[in-house]
């Protein structure tokens, strides 16, 4: 079974911008290792030269005509914003 260190769990959480408590990190260490141990079964499968399937549909480049039409009113788009000001989403400053 693969081992997962606390540091690896913290690294993945950082990639996902996901805050975790110490208890959650420890639980995930164990649970993710168990699940990854199970999916390791795929290693036994010969996939040499097999193309990946990204979609069940044989679609590529779906096009539509580029016509001007009405879109969601700004007021509606902002209605669920945690913070909005002057027709814009308000966020923390990135630059000082």
């Amino acid at each position: 079974m693969p081992q997962l260190t606390l540091q690896e769990v913290e690294h993945i959480a950082e990639l996902a911008r996901l805050g975790l408590t110490q208890a959650e990190k420890e639980t995930f260490c164990e649970q993710l290792a168990t699940i990854l141990g199970y999916v390791e079964m795929l290693n036994g499968l010969d996939t040499e030269g097999v193309p990946p399937t990204t979609s069940a549909l044989p679609l590529s480049n779906v096009m539509r005509s580029d016509e001007v039409s009405s879109s969601l009113p700004t007021e509606d788009a902002l209605a669920n914003a945690p913070d909005a000001d002057a027709d814009q989403f308000r966020v923390r400053a990135i630059l000082e």
Binding site: L18, T34, Y38, V39, V50, V62, N80
Partner: protein, 492 residues
Amino acid sequence: MNANTDLCFLTIHEALASLRRGEVSSVELTQAVLDQILSVDNQVRAYISILPEEALAQAEAADQRRAEGQNGPLLGVPLAIKDVICTQGITTTCGSRILEDFVPPFDATAVARLRSAGAVFLGKTNTDEFAMGSSTEHSAFFTTANPWDVERVPGGSSGGSAAAVAAGTALGALGSDTGGSVRQPAAMCGIVGLKPTYGRVSRYGLVAHGSSLDQIGPLARDVEDAAILLSCVAGHDWRDSTSLDSPVPNYVAEMKAGDGLRGMKVGVPQEYFIEGMEAGVEAAVRAALDEMADLGADLVDVSLPHTEYCIPIYYLIATAEASSNLARYDGVRYGLRVNNPDMWQTYYDTRQSGFGPEVKRRIMLGTYALSAGYYDADYLKAQQARTLLRRDFTRVWEQVDVLACPVSPTVAFRIGQKIDDPLQMYLMDVFTVSLNLVGMCGISVPCGFSDNMPVGLQLVGPALGESVILRAAYAYEQATSWHAQWPVDSRQ
């Protein structure tokens, strides 16, 4: 106590016939179902939000339209919608704290189509958070109970929709199916659930979970109702570039046309009858196969050799897609924001407070599978294995018209029984995820009982094979009476 439970347990096609004949009004029907909600939903807890005033206003409008000589394929029929499907002006939580107060500014296409068909909306049903789960226990709000035994789960993730249909608190419902989330709760609640072909129903307004897997599907009392609902929601939508531009047949007519199961080649995949599955489930499904043979079906043993890889493939691909899709919950445009003076910490805190344990687990798994160093070994490998799985089915569709197998290896389990063991919970999806990975359609129909709980028979068809699976399911259903049985408690 509800005086009008008979109205609550009408099928949609029976209700439509009564409405057309003027024997009942939509207001009477809707009021009866709202009374049933008042009477049983405190125990079943199928609904996250109930909309009595809105529903009655829509029912009144439907009666008015009918009085004016108008018609509609669902005019005046009260339905429920899973709370991962957007409804304009009505809170859509996805069973999550992070969207607890989210009010969509638009309808999902499937909802808009039901609306224009004349449907009445009773409310939004419970789901595992972001549809990630097999029991509704991962809802951030509460667990729905199975109407057949309130100590047990209704299945999931569309457990609220399934429980509502089984408890007489909706005539039909919409759910969503990423790895079995319509078929499995339908099986566990003794009703019919249909997962359409990938692309058959627009995903516009369905909150994204696994974008190459997600489909909206109907939950209903019988096969005909499922066909009616599917006919209303299916079809191309320019807002979803993966929706299929293929004509929508009249599924009810197609279902009733032809010779039923007579002469139909029904494949029985050996790998779908596994060691460790509940004996009563296997017995019920095997008896259903015998019944289909009696009805003239030609049973053919087939093999799907990559079946054992389905769960690993699914849980790598579904979590990878979910981790990417859920990146949008950053506390900027909608949903919860936990403010911190630091911008980065605002993201961490928002997502820590907003997501529950199963969603966090899947974000972690998916992020791991997509991360540098693991992408080739996990995510790419799973996509290659997905190709091999697809080839299994391509070969089988040269031999048979439909496949018949169980929906779930067990009947509904007890609340709390599997919650601490995520892998055991994932293994519950062993018979359902292949359809999503390959993009095929499938239907669950009631086929008996085990341990006094309903068992589902799964009939699988190739892409756009809805008419064939409906025809097979309808023929089986007409010859049996499982679909006509309801939980005793709900009828008192």
